[in-house]
């Protein structure tokens, strides 16, 4: 799941980025509204962590701007201004969730998973496909109750496919979802991960759509 973090405090910026990567997200982080605008224009994020107080304006303005332009990306507002009135204003400006500083990193990750899940129309935290159950919170894949060990990227790739069965993802789309700007894609390309997944799960799970990309069949 690819997340955009917009946070201007150097130390917190570092912490959120590192923490969310540890939680299995692909994370891009920027410090200003101008940079956030640019990032959001080029990448389709699964969710955004938006600090309200930013050096070049308030995050709420950016949020309203996005909502007005029809961008529906789930946004979690992160702010030190944590009064009821502030929370109401944040949510009414188009925020999907609100988290006051200081916060627990696990909670931030869980809330991000929740708003991203709902944005894709899934209520249950566990994705099922055939015999498989994929739990985003514990980052576990089970087949008929038996755990299947996956790497972080393999899990993320399978999660993307399971979230929207039947949808065809191009290589670029999957790459976008798996890697932040920080990450060195190198030789660990999407093909390599698909290959590894197929060797663990069997060939029938992930289908190649010639010339377009990959999908899992609708169950």
């Amino acid at each position: 799941m690819r997340i955009l973090v917009i946070e201007d405090d150097e130390i917190l910026f570092d912490a959120v980025r590192t923490g969310l990567v540890l939680e299995g997200f692909a994370v891009d982080a920027v410090e200003t509204i101008a940079d956030a605008r640019e990032a959001a224009a080029s990448v389709d994020y699964d969710a955004v962590v938006l600090d309200v107080g930013l050096p070049d304006g308030t995050g709420l303005d950016l949020l309203r701007e996005w909502r007005k332009a029809g961008r529906s990306v789930p946004v979690l507002l992160l702010t030190a201004r944590n009064s009821t009135r502030d929370r109401i204003e944040g949510l009414d400006s188009g925020g999907d969730d609100y988290l006051g500083k200081p916060f627990d990193l696990h909670e931030l990750a869980a809330r991000l998973r929740a708003i991203a899940r709902r944005a894709k129309g899934n209520a249950s935290p566990a994705l099922s496909w055939g015999d498989y159950t994929l739990d985003s919170a514990s980052r576990e894949l089970t087949r008929s109750g038996e755990a299947v060990a996956l790497s972080r990227r393999e899990f993320a790739l399978l999660e993307a496919l399971f979230e929207q069965p039947g949808r065809i993802f191009s290589r670029a789309q999957l790459e976008e979802r798996l890697y932040g700007w920080q990450d060195d894609i190198g030789s660990n390309t999407v093909e390599v991960h698909v290959h590894k997944l197929r060797s663990k799960l069997g060939r029938e799970v992930i289908q190649t759509v010639r010339g377009q990309g990959y999908k899992v069949a609708r169950p």
Partner: protein, 471 residues
């Protein structure tokens, strides 16, 4: 007198009593004169009437050789006494109750005479044709009683009127003071946290200044409280972010298995703690400067302050690879300021300069004359502040938009606050040759140039002092 109402009442009552007493004296005097005149006229008329009724003296004497025969004289009220004398001094008639001694001494017209302890006012007519003299007299005691009764008759309604007036004055003073009472009532009933205007629609002219003063005081308090609240909220907000960073890095350190990531997080935690400590320190400085008694001022050597600060900042300077250079113009400069205040101001300016200095650059401290004033300048070689931000940068918790340093946005406020207490100002500008200058500008009365003794003697002195210090 503690009550305005009682005070006004006493004043008004005293004045009323005074006016009424004067009026009473006047009425007494004029009534007395009127009564005298009227009664005198009665005497004249009575005397005339008696004289006209009497026959001549011979006839009276013949027909009535004894006084008893004179009784049929017209009977007047007991207030009046009448005597008829012959011109040669024989009493030929008198009214009942009239004394037998002559009422008058024989002269015509008005006279007064004391007869057996009673004073009589007498009018006498002599009639030479009939050889008689008629005297009619009033007993003055009776006259006095008449005037006394008249005055008493006036006094009773006056007392009743006075009591009624007192009640009315009391009520009227009460009603007149109603606007004041209203203000007092509004103030007494007011919630202590309510700083809104009193809201008196049409205040009485006299209390308008009072209400205006109260309202403006309330407005000022309200503003102060709003500022304070905003400051506290901002301070709390400023603390939340580093706390969030601390918390998140602590989470990471306990989550990760990777030693390098953990080490990095621990490093961030240390950095965040330092920053939070600095922020808290600055908040304390600010509140101390704002609420504390002004510290006693003395002549402080800027060079000595600089020495102390360069020691204090030696670690920061080394880490940032920045040199702190004092130009000779400050060597002999003294400022009249509390030493702690000078240190506080310079510390904040130098810290800012260090935070914004590029690696390997220098921070220059210099002094220069600007008109009458002296400017103590802290110059760095950093990127400066965009022109549109220069105006706002002094605000509390305001940081430059491009700033990524550890500043809290309080430093310049602290410097301004310190300077405002000695009448100095803080001048900020980007330098034409690059870099930024923050200047403490103070008036000529707060600066002096110290005479520097150069040569062996002073050096020896310094050395000996140094060696003493190291022992």
């Amino acid at each position: 007198m503690r009550s305005l109402r009682v005070r006004l009442f006493v004043l008004l009552a005293a004045m009323t009593v005074l006016v009424w007493s004067s009026a009473a004296i006047w009425i007494y005097a004029s009534t007395r004169a009127d009564v005298q005149r009227v009664l005198d006229r009665r005497l004249v008329e009575a005397a005339g009437m008696v004289a006209s009724l009497a026959t001549d003296a011979e006839d009276l004497l013949v027909r009535r050789p004894n006084q008893s025969r004179l009784v049929p004289l017209p009977h007047y009220s007991r207030q009046l006494s009448c005597q008829i004398w012959t011109l040669d001094g024989r009493l030929v008639g008198r009214s009942s109750g009239a004394p037998s001694q002559p009422l008058a001494d024989g002269r015509s017209g008005f006279s007064e005479r004391v007869i057996s302890g009673e004073t009589w006012r007498v009018y006498t007519i002599a009639d030479p044709a009939r050889q008689i003299r008629v005297s009619v007299g009033d007993n003055l005691r009776v006259r006095q009683r008449l005037i006394g009764d008249l005055m008493l008759g006036l006094l009773a309604p006056a007392i009743a009127g006075g009591v009624a007036l007192a009640v009315l004055i009391w009520a009227a003073v009460g009603a007149g003071l109603a606007p004041l009472r209203e203000v007092a009532r509004l103030l007494a009933r007011r919630d202590p946290s309510d700083f809104s205007a009193l809201g008196i629609a049409r205040p009485t002219e006299e209390i308008r200044p009072l209400i205006a003063a109260i309202d403006s005081q309330f407005a000022r308090l309200e503003q102060l409280r709003a500022d304070e609240r905003h400051f506290i909220a901002s301070a709390a907000h400023e603390l939340q972010t580093p706390l969030a960073g601390l918390r998140a890095h602590a989470d990471i350190a306990s989550m990760t298995d990777d030693a390098a990531t953990r080490e990095k997080s621990l490093h961030s935690i240390r950095k965040s703690v330092d920053r939070t400590a600095r922020l808290v320190g600055q908040l304390l400085d600010l509140s101390r400067e704002e609420s504390g008694e002004p510290l006693p001022r003395q002549w402080v050597s800027v060079a000595a302050a600089m020495d102390g600060l360069s020691d204090e900042f030696s670690n920061d300077l080394r880490r940032a690879d920045v040199k702190l250079v004092a130009i000779d113009t400050v060597v002999d400069l003294d400022l009249h300021i509390a030493p702690a205040s000078l240190l506080l101001a310079l510390r904040n300016l130098i810290k800012n300069a260090i935070d914004h200095s590029p690696l390997g650059s220098a921070i220059e401290i210099s002094a220069e004359q600007r008109g009458d004033c002296v400017a103590l300048c802290v110059r760095d070689q950093g990127p400066g502040i965009p022109a549109d931000e220069l105006g706002k940068i002094r605000g509390r918790f305001v940081r430059g938009a491009r700033t990524r340093g550890p500043g809290s946005g309080l430093g310049l406020s602290i410097v301004e606050l310190v300077l405002s207490q000695i009448g100095g100002t803080l001048h900020l500008r980007n330098l034409a040759q690059g870099g930024f200058e923050a200047a403490i500008v103070v008036g000529p009365d707060l600066t002096r140039r110290r005479e520097i003794r150069l040569g062996a003697e002073s050096q020896a002195h310094t050395v000996s002092k140094g060696s003493q210090g190291s022992n």
